[in-house]
């Protein structure tokens, strides 16, 4: 969109990159379940949902590429680990099933809150994409709400694993709403209809109510680590090595 001034365009690029990286990295983490999920049917379901997230990342990277004149594949695969801007929630390895479900539950609701808001964005291509993504995310919400309830009611072991995972992931989950350096520009331009902090509290209320309904403890610490999108882990560096292995094998190849 050529009518955006440089400052607004850079701010929008920061938002798109954060969202795309969230979807991209989570999609890769959960694709790690392919072949080893608890039952065959869930194996297919989890793999399919992970593919959906890669698809959303692709759409977001393409929007970003159009905005900045870059190549979407290069943005996705051509950065060193420290160049990624996913939330700290996506810094953790797959771990066990309860952990993966806990992360998905926390993320899907954060993403839903974010997309609901962006559906009214003043930047029409982003609003259109948010509406489209929400249609697919409806099923993701249903699926991970269902798994949360099941693990909560699935006996002492699954319940304990689930609550421990939620407790452990809670601080990093907040960072989906970590402030962006240029957020004020986005809010002024009505590209981001509401500040991320407003969205974060909406999300806390929503997941809090669902956890309560499942008789799970609701974590109380609502501290937000502002660096959540820039600090990365060894676990992420490993995943980065995995997902860039093929593209990195022949940097100049045409795929």
């Amino acid at each position: 969109m050529s009518e955006l001034d440089r400052e607004t365009r850079d701010a929008l690029a920061e938002l798109l990159l954060a969202m795309a990286d969230d979807e991209f990295v989570l999609g890769f983490w959960d694709s790690e379940w392919t072949g080893i999920a608890p039952i065959l049917e869930e194996d297919v379901a989890m793999s399919s949902v992970s593919q959906d997230e890669i698809g959303h990342a692709k759409a977001l990277y393409e929007l970003l590429a159009e905005l900045t004149g870059q190549d979407a594949d290069r943005i996705a695969f051509g950065r060193p680990p420290e160049g990624y801007r996913h939330a700290a929630l996506m810094n953790h390895a797959r771990t066990d099933w309860a952990f993966s479900i806990a992360r998905r539950f926390l993320y899907e609701h954060a993403d839903a809150v974010r997309l609901e808001s962006l559906a009214t964005s003043g930047y029409q291509p982003l609003a259109d994409l948010a509406v489209k993504m929400r249609r697919e995310e409806t099923y993701h919400l249903l699926h991970f709400d269902l798994w949360l309830r099941r693990l909560a009611e699935g006996g002492d072991d699954s319940r304990a694993r689930l609550s421990e995972a939620i407790e452990r992931l809670w601080p990093d989950a907040q960072t989906v709403f970590a402030p962006l350096a240029t957020e004020a520009v986005l809010v002024d331009a009505r590209i981001l209809p509401e500040p991320l902090e407003t969205l974060r509290w909406r999300w806390i209320d929503r997941v809090g109510a669902l956890l309560k309904a499942a008789n799970l403890p609701v974590p109380v610490n609502a501290h937000l680590d502002a660096d959540g999108r820039t600090r990365h882990t060894e676990e992420f560096a490993w995943l980065h090595g995995e997902f860039t292995m093929v593209s990195g094998s022949e940097a100049k190849a045409t795929w």
């Binding site: 049917e41 297919v44 379901a45 249903l142 699926h143 269902l146």
Partner: protein, 105 residues
């Protein structure tokens, strides 16, 4: 899960107005998960307009050969089971219409 799993038969409709056709089956402990899995197995590529998800034990099966394939000639119960060629020829002659080959059997 595991021991509590039930089998669900999935029927799919490819386009609005098409008949529901058996697609296959999924295993799931209840209707809610069966619906999710049916969606993943028979709808995730946007190949279905509609799915029916039916617990296998709700299906009444009939496969008794005495009832379905009795040993006597039942060809007269099929539309093509009657030899009508000669009757048709006679009828055409009476009506004065031209002969047509290969009508009936």
């Amino acid at each position: 899960m595991g021991s509590k799993d039930r089998v669900w038969e999935v029927f799919r409709q490819e386009a609005e107005g098409d008949p529901m056709v058996h697609g296959g089956s999924v295993k799931a402990p209840d209707e809610e998960l069966a619906t999710h899995y049916a969606r993943e197995f028979y709808g995730r590529r946007q190949e279905s307009e509609r799915l029916w998800i039916v617990p296998r034990d709700a299906i009444t099966e009939l496969d008794d050969p005495d009832l379905l394939k009795p040993p006597f000639d039942r060809s007269f119960k099929r539309p093509g089971g009657f030899l009508i060629k000669h009757k048709l020829e006679a009828a055409r002659e009476r009506a004065g219409s031209p002969q047509v080959d290969e009508v009936g059997e």
